[in-house]
């Protein structure tokens, strides 16, 4: 589904990603871990198409298409979703109205008829049930006045409604207490499917206790320095990032 080849990118002339290679297939959950400043969020932003980042080398294929050539909204319409680390507030814009506009933009792009209000609400209710969510986030403005936990849950709710093929969760666990973390993780697990790929970006292993990944990659100084199964995350938890960085240095 997603193939990243030798991706180099930076911001303001500073190179952050220094040759990322990664292949993600449908149905898989990949975790990308790494210390602060290793390039985790940069990778997410570049994949989503934030134009303040500059890609200097490499390519990214999404379902065989050149992802980097697409505008951010077209990536979204093709099925790339990013759950933001810091979801943005849009005062006065109703969350449901926003989602309906977004979903219909996606459907239009795919040649599907737009959903009317009745069908859309039906879908929203069904997704809420799946996510075991109450309707407290529905009638409010997008993220306005939401607590940290509500914002992150709302991101996952957006994901549930928009039904992406590839979901990138950028530090979805940051700032959450354990109850909120569990609730967000359960939401994500409910959305795991054989047709969907999920990339979980996180600093800490604890999220991976709840969202158990198929693969774990460790990012350091803009490169993936180690890949493995879910047990790699546990090793990291025990030994810290320093352990890996030392072994990488030693191998040079």
């Amino acid at each position: 589904m997603l193939e990243i080849r030798n991706l180099c990118a930076g911001i303001g002339g500073k190179e952050i990603l220094q040759g990322i290679n990664l292949r993600v297939n449908a149905g898989e959950v990949h975790a990308i871990m790494g210390p602060n400043g290793s390039g985790k969020s940069t990778l997410a932003q570049v994949l989503a198409g934030r134009d303040s980042y500059e890609v200097t080398k490499g390519e990214v294929l999404f379902q065989g298409q050149d992802l980097l050539a697409m505008a951010p909204e077209d990536r979204a319409r093709e099925g790339v979703f990013m759950a933001f680390q810091y979801p943005v507030e849009i005062p006065g814009v109703n969350n449901t109205y926003f989602l309906k506009a977004a979903l219909n933009a996606i459907r239009k792009h795919r040649g599907l008829p737009e959903l009317d209000a009745v069908d859309f609400l039906k879908l929203v209710r069904e997704r809420m049930k799946l996510m075991e969510m109450d309707d407290s986030l529905i009638g409010r403005s997008v993220n306005e006045g939401f607590s940290g936990g509500e914002k992150k849950r709302n991101e996952i709710f957006h994901m549930a409604v928009l039904d992406p093929k590839l979901a990138i969760l950028d530090e979805t666990d940051s700032g959450l207490d354990i109850d909120a973390l569990k609730s967000v993780a359960e939401g994500v697990n409910a959305l795991r499917s054989k047709d969907r790929a999920i990339v979980v970006i996180t600093h800490y292993q604890r999220l991976l206790n709840y969202i158990v990944p198929d693969f774990v990659h460790v990012l350091s100084n803009g490169r993936i320095v180690r890949s493995g199964g879910k047990e790699l995350a546990l090793d990291l938890e025990a030994k810290g990032y320093g352990w890996l960085e030392e072994t990488v240095e030693a191998a040079r």
Binding site: P72, F84, I90, A101, A102, A105, S141, L162
Partner: protein, 482 residues
């Protein structure tokens, strides 16, 4: 280039949609202003003596006045002798009595504007008094309203048929000496709307006026007078457009509202006069005096305005809260794009006890637009227990526009409670990127964010107007609203 700037530049390139000129034979009088012209206007309108005298008093007073310069707007001097003060579509018959008698070209123009009178009459139950240049061409639904004792007609007709009401209330809220533009209007006004709601009557439909400036070089000086008797209610809608012309056209209107005991007047405006082109050439100078007087106890006057057009807007719909427990409200969205300038706001003058006022102002600036909120809240000595809440928010799109706020507060009674909130924000790249990441185009994202910003005002508008206002904001900023 950043996404936000890019979007804004696209927006800045959009064209005025209502800029067609209708080719209708007009009856005009020579350019310029003197007593002779005023006598001519008055004679053409077959006015009683008191009207002519009032006009002349106003004109003589106007000659002693100077054009105000305190507003935060800039424009070349207006040559008041180079304006045609009266223009009327030449009608084959005298005075249309029903829609079928109205010039079909006029009607098709209204259709272009999306306000087909027949449609409105049939579908939405809106009674329209359409003012085309200076003479009111059609007043629908009159007979139905007349059954309730409601008078809704052109100002000229009111002068002919209800001179006692006109004489009693004309100038009672905005005296002919009030200010330069109001005084000019008092001297030369050619038509407008008149509305009288009798005691205890709740007007069963929204009353609506559609103004349009068509003829070249004409000023439009309409005058609106609304009187709501004890315990009555009326909701009044006003919409405005003008064709595209290179010259600036002057629009100096006066609106007076009078609310007696427990009466309520809700006055909504969607103003979309031609704003000028991208370089700031042409456009309407919209210098308007709007004021309501809550004369009676427990009365209420509510202004809602959406100002997206005009090269320059200079208007402060205000409330004089004279009756005890009376309420004044002002909800405003003002948008300036390209080189538009707006200096707008309100005055709330608290005279009676326990009077309350609410001000919610939303200013949006794009392109090189300059947007000024100017508001005054005065609590007079006798206004024990008066309360005011003011909120002024500004939204900036791009980095070449400006937002300014001048709130004036004068309190002469220590029991008053005043609250003032203000904010300035920019549409952030973060917000636009967030919307795009969900699949929305930048254009839809901007529309959505702007409409969200204006929500508190839009919900004060009657339903069909709210929809129009949202569309208009979209059109004024780009093509459509998501």
């Amino acid at each position: 280039m950043s996404t936000a700037t890019h979007t804004i530049q696209e927006l800045a390139n959009k064209e005025y949609k209502y800029g067609f000129v209708t080719d209708i034979e007009s009856e005009v009088i020579p350019r310029g202003l003197n007593e002779e012209i005023i006598r001519t206007i008055s004679a053409k309108k077959n006015e009683p003596q008191f009207m002519l005298e009032w006009r002349l008093k106003a004109f003589r007073h106007w000659l002693t006045m100077k054009e105000p310069t305190w507003a935060n707007v800039h424009y070349p001097a207006i040559d008041y002798q180079n304006i045609i003060y009266y223009s009327a579509p030449k009608s084959k018959k005298e005075g249309p009595k029903s829609l079928s008698e109205i010039d079909p070209e006029l009607l098709s123009m209204y259709e272009k504007l999306g306000i087909s009178l027949q449609e409105q009459e049939r579908l939405s139950g809106v009674a329209v008094d359409a003012v085309f240049d200076s003479v009111s061409v059609a007043t629908t639904f009159r007979s139905k309203l007349a059954e309730l004792g409601i008078i809704f007609c052109s100002f000229s007709e009111a002068v002919q048929e209800h001179p006692e009401l006109v004489k009693k209330y004309l100038g009672s809220v905005v005296p002919y000496t009030d200010n330069f533009f109001a005084t000019l209007n008092s001297a030369v006004f050619s038509d407008g709307s008149f509305c009288y709601i009798p005691k205890g009557v709740r007007c069963p439909m929204e009353l609506s006026t559609y103004f349009r400036i068509n003829a070249k070089d004409t000023g439009q000086f309409e005058r609106t007078l609304i009187i709501a008797e004890e315990g009555s209610y009326v909701s009044y809608l006003e919409g405005c457009t003008a064709p595209m012309r290179d010259e600036n056209q002057l629009h100096a209107a006066v609106v007076e509202l009078i609310a007696l005991d427990s009466a309520q007047i809700k006055y909504s405006t969607v103003q979309n006069w031609y704003p000028g082109d991208k370089q700031g050439k042409g456009g309407i100078y919209n210098f308007v005096t709007k004021r309501g007087k809550c004369v009676g106890v427990n009365s209420k006057i509510s202004w809602t305005q959406v100002e997206t057009g005009s090269a320059i807007t200079w208007k402060y719909p205000s409330c004089i809260l004279q009756g005890d427990n009376s309420v004044g409200e002002f909800y405003s969205v003002a948008l300036t794009n390209h080189y538009q300038q707006a200096d707008t706001g309100t005055k709330m003058i608290h005279i009676g006890k326990n009077t309350r006022s609410t001000i919610v102002s939303k200013g949006i600036s794009a392109g090189h637009g300059q947007n000024t909120y100017r508001g005054a809240v005065k609590i007079m000595k006798g206004a024990t227990g008066a309360r005011n809440y003011s909120q002024c928010d500004s939204l900036l799109l791009g980095d070449k526009c400006g937002a300014h706020t001048f709130p004036y507060i004068e309190v002469k009674n220590s029991t008053a409670q005043m609250e003032h909130e203000a904010s300035t924000s920019k549409i952030g790249e973060d917000q636009i990127f967030y919307c795009k990441q969900r699949g929305l185009s930048a254009e839809d994202a901007v529309s959505m964010i702007v409409n969200g910003f204006c929500k508190e005002v839009f919900r004060e508008l009657p339903m069909e107007f709210a929809v129009e206002a949202q569309k208009l904001l979209g059109v004024s900023l780009e093509g459509s609203v998501g």
